[in-house]
């Protein structure tokens, strides 16, 4: 029997609350350290930069949190993101479809890739690691094929760029020019949190991760719900694809690979257990911010890019180790 935390009887207080508190403490600690180290860190523009850079990774991490809670993994989210971006770009720029339709195409492309992942995992019984590793390459290849190996620009449709880079908040409150991408991240997080904690899909996500066989024996159609969970993760990757294309004003077919690891790291730092059954949206968002703050702060302190990568790697391992130590007690 797995050791569990001491939060008794309070369903609104998730069991991984301790990990969340630790992660939040770490985030605050990082902000304090970097603001002492550099006067530029706390500047409004830098803060906006951090928020903006969290948006794409954050949305991917929200999606992957669901599959990790089921005890699975999705390695394809990064390249599915660029596949979705390319699909949106091709629809809008080459086929001349309206921007709204193009966005929808992008989302559905992500959802479709996720659905295929779910089918392969649930019906063919291929382990998630392998199935999504396959999809990683399929999506990467398709993005290159469909785009003709070159970026797709949205120069004729300036409204597309506004999706991520416009500022609805700035229009309402002058001077509060926070890009829509950030707003969308928080909306996506609220939606994800509702799905995870308030819907049947969320309940079965936990149930499958906690004891898949028990869920099956209780009459839960585990295959169907797994497909739904992977599809949901794909939809989040599609949203990330639209956001990154909008932010760069172009769909870059070769961009996505590597994003999946940052997203998985964000979820894990936030207390989502790779063995399944535990995790939260709040934790994942905190985890995503820890990674962004770290990257941004180290850059401001002129730590070379390659060392930033090394440090991020160490942080992930330390976070998982601390979680293990906590569980062992």
């Amino acid at each position: 029997m797995k050791a569990l935390t001491s939060s008794r009887g309070l369903t609104f207080l998730p069991a991984n609350a301790i990990q969340q508190v630790l992660a939040f403490g770490a985030l605050i600690g990082l902000v304090i350290v970097f603001s002492l180290a550099s006067p530029n860190f706390l500047q409004f523009n830098n803060m906006v930069g951090i928020l903006l850079s969290t948006a794409v990774n954050g949305v991917l991490a929200l999606g992957v949190t669901f599959v990790i809670i089921t005890g699975g993994i999705d390695l394809s989210i990064g390249t599915v993101m660029s596949f979705a971006a390319v699909m949106a770009g091709v629809s809008i720029t080459y086929w001349g479809l309206p921007v709204a339709v193009g966005v929808l195409v992008g989302l559905l492309a992500g959802g479709l890739a996720g659905c295929v992942n779910g089918l392969v995992i649930a019906k063919l019984r291929i382990p998630p690691f392998i199935a999504t590793l396959g999809m990683l390459n399929v999506a990467k290849g398709l993005a290159l094929v469909i785009s003709g190996l070159k970026p797709v620009y949205f120069n004729d449709t300036p409204s597309f760029n506004q999706i991520a880079m416009g500022s609805v908040l700035g229009a309402v409150i002058s001077g509060f020019e926070i890009p829509n991408a950030v707003l969308l991240l928080f909306v996506a997080a609220i939606v994800a949190s509702l799905i995870l904690n308030r819907t049947v899909l969320g309940r079965y996500t936990f149930a499958i991760g906690s004891n898949e066989e028990a869920a099956r024996l209780s009459g839960v159609d585990v295959d169907r719900w797994k497909i739904a969970v992977y599809t949901l993760t794909g939809l989040f990757s599609g949203l990330a694809g639209v956001l990154i294309a909008s932010r760069l004003n172009s769909a870059q077919p070769a961009l996505g690979q590597g994003y999946e690891l940052d997203a998985i790291a964000a979820a894990v730092i936030g207390g989502t257990s790779l063995s399944g059954g535990e995790g939260s949206i709040v934790g994942t968002i905190i985890g995503a911010f820890i990674i962004s703050v770290l990257t941004n702060g180290l850059r401001i302190m002129s730590v070379p890019q390659e060392w930033q990568t090394v440090i991020t790697g160490v942080i992930v391992v330390v976070a998982v180790y601390l979680d293990l130590v906590r569980r062992r007690k």
């Binding site: 029997m1 797995k2 569990l4 008794r8 009887g9 309070l10 369903t11 069991a15 308030r198 819907t199 049947v200 899909l201 969320g202 309940r203 936990f206 149930a207 991760g209 906690s210 004891n211 066989e213 028990a214 869920a215 099956r216 024996l217 209780s218 009459g219 839960v220 059954g277 535990e278």
Partner: protein
């Protein structure tokens, strides 16, 4: 004559390598508690899992209230009023009590949103109706095993259950908890529910059962009303004649010098200050209920888990055992209850498995492997242990359970092991092969090995051991010589809980 709720006839079921059921029969009437008895491996659980829609049957028919029923999956069985409380708890530890009970049937709003207050209220109502004392909002992983069992029962009752199957419901319960459970069962029986009670604790059948059906080796033996079913008669039906054949197998001697001494072994909340001695040439049985800490003790001695305190002496000298590697070097071999996961490399062939615990010996210069030596070692053990395999290159996966167990034994013999820890040595093994394993264990003891045997099967413990240690909740609650041990004395010690202050 009332029409039976359930009638099962001619049920057959086989699993790869084992024919679990040859002629399964069962009849359940409304408002009765029907006990199903038999040794481990007699096919009780398999028969009931077929009734609960968990396994498909290979042959035979099932009538529910006279009509032929189709039970393709657990859901279908539940819809037809059949619920099962599993022996191994099937709960989701990360979810709350209420969430577990109503998994798959949550009250919803707008089709997709969960109505958590309604869920908890429904669970509360269920508990009040059935006199079960549980908090719907506690996470199941935080409950004791006994409380988790109550959650399973509540879950089964939450369906409109006409047939309630309980697979060893009392195995992990205290006396008061059993009394509560029986009160609940009587209440259900009065309401017309048919209850199947699978139990190893024969003495409790007199308290609760109306009829008893006995199974042996996957076959129906007989059904008796409880007033005719004396303990002796049930046991005789369960074991057939084998009990008289196996009695003389009890090994002689057992008073050699100490091979292994454990002193004050403690580990967290699992093991409390355990001390015992294993002598050359003896079989030391360790009995206890599920969760008593028997496997934990074996793993601690073997170095698979760390200990907080305590020392181990091998041949009278203190030994540092911090890892299984240390233990093997000290001459200890551990035969896990889960052979397939921990004992064997299933995808490798017989001769490689036999060499696996002493591979260093089969290594030539520069780390090359001496295949000839591995082959001759394999030939020797296949002959000595009478392992039934077409050839040495057969993958272990394709051997029967009994022969797989022999390969594990051969593996430890190859490593010159003097101390063998058998954890549930005959689990999942056919009755015929069991006798061979017992014989082998006796021969090993007589040849001067020391054997620790952990077993949940009391007949096995009683037949095989020179001495029996009984554990309860991480403590050794008693030690019995083979001539003074009875099922009743062992059970009394196994349930001797420490008063909780």
């Amino acid at each position: 004559m009332q029409q039976p709720l359930v009638l099962m006839e001619g049920i057959e079921k086989s699993f790869p390598g084992v024919q679990a059921l040859r002629d399964g029969r069962f009849e359940l009437r409304p408002g009765e508690v029907h006990a199903l008895c038999g040794e481990n491996g007699a096919g009780k659980s398999t028969l009931m899992k077929i009734l609960a829609g968990i396994y498909p049957k290979d042959a035979g028919r099932i009538l529910l209230q006279g009509k032929e029923a189709s039970l393709p999956n657990p859901r279908a069985a539940m819809r037809q009023g059949i619920s099962i409380v599993h022996q191994e708890l099937n709960l989701m530890p990360h979810l709350t009590v209420a969430q577990n009970i109503f998994i798959g049937r949550e009250p919803r709003r707008a089709g997709i949103f969960l109505d958590e207050p309604a869920l908890n209220a429904r669970a509360q109502a269920l508990f009040e109706r059935t006199n079960i004392r549980l908090d719907p909002r506690v996470r199941v992983g935080e409950l004791t095993i006994a409380r988790q069992q109550m959650v399973e029962i509540a879950k089964a009752l939450s369906f409109n259950t006409r047939v309630l199957i309980m697979d060893e419901p009392t195995a992990a319960l205290t006396e008061t908890e059993i009394a509560d459970l029986f009160a609940l069962i009587r209440q259900l029986r009065a309401a017309g529910t048919g209850i199947v009670h699978i139990s190893h604790r024969l003495e409790e059948l007199q308290q609760i059962a109306d009829r008893v059906t006995v199974m042996r080796d996957g076959q129906y033996v007989d059904t008796l009303p409880i007033r005719e079913a004396t303990l002796q008669r049930i046991i005789t039906m369960m074991v057939g004649r084998t009990i008289f054949e196996t009695r003389p197998e009890l090994p002689e001697g057992g008073a050699g010098e100490p091979l292994l001494e454990a002193r004050g072994i403690s580990r967290g909340r699992q093991l409390h200050n355990l001390s015992f001695t294993l002598r050359r040439g003896e079989i030391l049985g360790i009995a206890g209920l599920i969760g008593a800490g028997r496997t934990e003790l074996a793993r601690a001695v073997f170095g698979a888990d760390s200990v907080d305190s305590g020392t181990i002496l091998i041949h009278g000298k203190p030994a540092q055992i911090r890892s299984p590697n240390d233990a093997v070097r000290q001459g200890i071999g551990y035969l896990s209850e889960d052979r397939k996961h921990f004992g064997l490399a299933l995808g490798l062939d017989v001769e490689t498995n036999l060499a696996l615990a002493a591979y260093g010996r089969f290594m030539g210069p520069l780390g090359t492997v001496r295949n000839g030596a591995i082959r001759s070692n394999g030939e020797r053990h296949v002959r000595d242990l009478a392992i039934k395999t077409p050839n040495l290159a057969q993958r272990v996966r394709f051997l029967s359970g009994g022969n797989q167990q022999k390969v594990v034994i051969g593996k430890w013999l190859t490593a010159d092991t003097e101390i063998l820890i058998f954890d549930e040595p005959t689990r999942g093994i056919d009755v015929g092969a069991k006798a061979e394993i017992y014989k082998l264990m006796n021969e090993l003891a007589q040849s001067g090995k020391g054997i620790i045997m952990i077993s949940s099967e009391l007949p096995e413990i009683l037949r095989m051991s020179h001495r029996i240690l009984v554990m309860c909740e991480g403590r050794i609650t008693g030690e019995l010589r083979s001539d003074e041990a009875t099922q009743e004395r062992i059970m009394a010690l196994a349930t001797q809980r420490e008063a909780v202050i």
